[in-house]
Amino acid sequence: MDNPKPATVFLIDDDASVRRALTRLITSAGHQVRPFASAREYLDSGPHGGGPACLVLDVRLPGLSGLDLQRELRTAKTPHPVIFITGHADVPMSVKAMKEGAVDFIPKPVRDEDLLRSIEQAMTRAERESAERAEIEALQDRAHRLTPREREVMALVVRGLLNKQIAFELGTAEKTVKVHRARVMQKMQVQSLAELVRVTEKIGLPPRPAS
């Protein structure tokens, strides 16, 4: 593991002994581990943004359960991938966890290979998601720099309307639309209409303006 920047594993298990053992195991794989005895403890110590990280979470926790925590984290700005470990895995619970985006669902006692492989996957995903998040953040920054008129023009452009049509739509001259269009392409740092469509999709601008 020659990862120069060690990923962080947030470990949440109510059993002290299990927590200690897993901490040792994950640490031995080169990850940084931050153990918590409960979901509440983890949340209270947050926010945990930044570098690549994942959660190793016992499904059954006193108070806020593992699944509850997963649901809560999904709404956060920077969701970390979650790996569930459980003493009594039942199918409905695992299905639910996976649907909610869990990386894996590992029964206790945990085999080191399973856990560490899942952690690697989670970290990969975390890095990828981190990169994606960075790109979108950049594109969003560009979009923020557009004037409202430029944003209107862009929305109509990505819908595939011609300049003439846009001019009619906005009630301006075709010439003016041309100027706005050029400014949008410049500010969004795209070379083609296709590229612009892809960017707007990423940042989630609606392809069509609300009618």
Binding site: D15, S17, V18, L22, R60, V110
Partner: protein, 768 residues
């Protein structure tokens, strides 16, 4: 001394003078009194002899000295006196000249002059008692001065009146008499008296007929006629008779009733009459004589005149003639009365009757008694049969032991239970010998203790019977004391409980089985959380081991961490073992064993057992305990089971409420001096009123996979511990289950109502 001599002299003088004074008298006393009886009739005449006999008897009785009687009879009634009288006088004169009588008793009928002369001339100084049986007048001068006595008259009129009274139909009375002057004197008297009857009846005198003629004549008289016989000393032919004999012949022949005036005639069969009594006359004579002989004066003129007569009748004759007895005058004497069989044998009959009555009564009595005996015997037999039947039907063995005699009676059922033959005779030791050796001492102690005071005893014991078969019996009995308070009898009932005992033992086994199954089933409910319990240490162990492997690959190995890892592994191993041990203690199947238990310890164990379940259900469990320790007396496994059931039920009741409200509080506190109470309170929805009891019924469950036996078994366990298990709703929501158990008596300390203090808490947030 002198006085004494004087006294003696006086006494002697007195005695001598007395002897001299009575000297004459003494000689006089020794001399017999001579009484001369002179009669002008003969001693063959019944009247004469009767008078003489009675007179003598009275005289002898009256006098203390000896009396010598002499009697001389002239027999003037039947023999002519002309020649005989002088001879008679001379004879008497000569005979008594040298032996003069002290008293002369003269019985005179006709010859008064003759006897008077004899007395006056020959014995002038001798007192005379005269009895004159005559109708004529008597001159006393003839007899001299020393004469006393009386004249006896007949009662002819009385006799005739009687005839008319007894036979009102009589119109004629035939009077029969003789021809001597004596006879005629009586006939004259009848004639005189008959005058007063003129007009009422015709009185006819047959005086001139011979006795033979009379006999013939009286034999054909009509019924309106009666015969009045006076006397016949001599009939018309000159033949002389004793009047009674003549009367006899008349009476025998007469066709009508014959009456008379003297006693003898009644005896020969005449009907009767108003008769003169020779016996009475004789006694009177005797009294006169006695008076004179005792020194009385014989000079008591004039002679008394006696007319007394008595109505005397012959009962046989009355009947012969059909004369009504009711017509007899009051005071009548009935002679020859043939008494009726009743009168004659009255006492025999009465005695006989009494004997018969007594015998009858006796026979009836015996008969009744016999039938009573039979009845008693029968009812005894019946009641014996009934007892045998009842005790047989009820399988009741009965025994009675009589201590004084040592006899033991046992009914058929008991013999069967004990394995004795039906006719076997046995002693109490044989009976005791049948008690199982293991139970014998206890049984005998129970009997001895209670029976000696006359109290009831009761125990169960086993019997060892020949052939090795064992039986369980229930023995109930009683001692019976006498008035001095000594034990005289023991008696009682033996019930064969073998079958029910076996059932009971089987039921016990089944209950235990069920209790065990319920425990196992509870373990099933706990399986998920228990798996978790076990999984945690296993997970830790595995992860630690794998981490260690990785650390060993590193160079250099971190020995410190490795040591920590190994220490953790060992600890987790013991953790896992502990879980398994707890599990096993609940699942194991052992005969229950009562011991002193720390209730708080039990609750704590259960809390550990359900800890992961509590975590799973987000339940907060806490234990509040008043100052203890609370040592209960009971079976650890079973009480653990109860607490476990209550806790799991409490968890179950709070599934639907918000997680942060799920709390269970277990409290342990003293409940009176002999009980400890454990309560398990939840914060669920509580129980509808009708379910507070229903939940204890078997198979009542709210859990989809529940058996519905948890509370049922819990209650039976608590009741077997002498306690109570019940449910109630909390005022502020949720339900509380309470149970009490007996405290360990050996450790009953001073336990007040101390405030509860939090002893233990299972809080998932508080885990280290």
């Amino acid at each position: 001394m002198r006085e004494r001599i004087v006294k003696m002299a006086v006494c002697a003088l007195c005695w001598m003078s007395l002897a001299t004074a009575t000297g004459v008298n003494a000689a006089d006393v020794e001399r017999a009194r001579r009484v001369l009886i002179l009669s002008d009739q003969s001693s063959v005449m019944p009247g004469v002899s009767t008078v003489q006999r009675n007179a003598e008897s009275v005289i002898r009785t009256a006098l203390q000295w000896r009396v010598e009687f002499n009697a001389e009879y002239l027999d003037a009634g039947r023999y002519p006196q002309e020649k005989l009288s002088p001879l008679f006088l001379n004879y008497v004169r000569e005979k008594y000249a040298s032996h003069p009588p002290d008293l002369i008793v003269a019985l005179c009928t006709v010859s008064f002059d003759l006897l008077a002369e004899l007395a006056k001339t020959d014995f002038p100084s001798v007192p005379i008692v005269l009895m004159g049986l005559t109708e004529g007048e008597v001159s006393l001068e003839k007899f001299g001065p020393n004469v006393t006595g009386f004249i006896q008259r007949s009662d002819m009129l009385g006799t005739m009146e009687l005839i008319l009274k007894l036979q009102p139909e009589v119109r004629r009375i035939v009077v029969i008499g003789g021809t001597t002057p004596f006879d005629k004197a009586y006939l004259n008297r009848v004639r005189e008296d008959a005058r007063s009857l003129e007009g009422r009846v015709a009185v006819e005198f047959w005086t001139d007929r011979s006795l033979a003629e009379l006999e013939k004549d009286v034999s054909s008289l009509d019924r309106d006629t009666a015969v009045f016989y006076t006397t016949i000393f001599r009939d018309s032919t000159g033949e002389s008779f004793v009047p009674v004999e003549a009367a006899q012949r008349i009476v025998d022949r007469a066709s009508v009733p014959v009456y008379g005036f003297f006693e003898g005639i009644v005896k020969v069969g005449a009907v009767g009459g108003s008769v003169i009594q020779f016996e009475t006359i004789g006694k009177k004579v005797g009294e006169f004589a006695g008076r004179i002989l005792q020194g009385g004066s014989a000079n008591s003129n004039p002679l008394e005149l006696h007319k007394d007569a008595l109505p005397v009748f012959n009962w046989t004759a009355l009947h012969r003639w059909g004369i009504d007895e009711n017509r007899l005058p009051p005071g009548s004497v009935l002679e020859f009365r043939t008494p009726s069989a009743w009168e004659k044998y009255r006492w025999y009959l009465l005695a006989g009757l009494a004997i018969i009555t007594f015998q009858t009564a006796l026979i009836i009595g015996l008969f009744v008694q016999r039938s009573r005996f039979r009845k008693v015997e029968r009812s005894l037999r019946e009641s014996h049969n009934l007892i045998e039947l009842a005790s047989g039907a009820g399988h009741l063995g009965l025994w009675v032991r009589d201590l004084p005699s040592g006899e033991v009676w046992a009914n058929r059922t008991l013999r069967t239970i004990l394995g004795f033959k039906e006719e076997a005779v046995f002693q109490i030791d044989d009976l005791y010998g049948r008690i199982h050796p293991g139970d014998r001492d206890r049984a005998l102690a129970a009997i001895t203790a209670a029976a000696g005071n006359g109290q009831l005893f009761e125990f169960e014991c086993r019997l060892s019977r020949p052939g090795g078969t064992e039986r369980w019996v229930l023995v109930k009995g009683k001692g019976v004391l006498d008035s001095q308070g000594r034990l005289i009898r023991t008696q009682g009932v033996v019930v064969d409980k073998t079958a029910s005992k076996q059932t009971e033992l089987q039921a016990d086994r089944q209950r235990e089985e069920l209790t065990h199954i319920q425990r196992i089933s509870t373990m099933g409910e706990l399986a998920a959380s228990l798996a978790h319990e076990l999984n945690q240490p296993l997970t830790a162990i595995l992860s630690n081991a794998q981490a260690a492997q990785r650390f060993l690959l590193a160079n250099p190995a971190d020995m410190e961490t490795l040591q920590e890892i190994l220490r953790d592994i060992i600890e987790d191993n013991s953790r896992a073992s502990e879980v398994i041990r707890r599990l096993r203690s609940l699942v194991r199947k052992e005969a229950h064993e009562y011991a002193a238990l720390d209730l708080a310890g039990i609750v704590r164990n259960v809390m550990l057992l359900v800890q992961s379940d509590a975590v799973l259900h987000n339940v907060n469990v806490s234990l509040l305990c008043s100052q203890g320790p609370h040592h209960a007396w009971g079976d650890k496994v079973q009480l653990t089971q109860v607490v476990l059931n209550l806790l799991l039920n409490a968890f179950d009741s709070m599934k639907d409420i918000p997680a942060d409200e799920r709390r269970v509080v277990v409290r342990i506190e003293q409940n009176g001096p002999h009980r400890v109470k454990v309560t398990v309170s939840d914060r669920g929805h509580g129980l509808p009123g009708d379910r507070l009891e229903k939940i204890f019924e078997p198979f009542y469950t709210t859990k989809p996979d529940g058996m519905g036996m948890g509370l049922t078994i819990s209650r039976s366990i608590i009741e077997a511990h002498g306690g109570r298990l019940w449910a109630e709703n909390n005022p502020d929501g949720g339900a509380t289950f309470n149970f009490t158990v007996r405290v360990d008596r050996r450790r009953t300390g001073r336990v007040g109502s101390q405030p509860l203090r939090e002893l233990e808490k299972s809080d998932h947030l508080g885990q280290p």
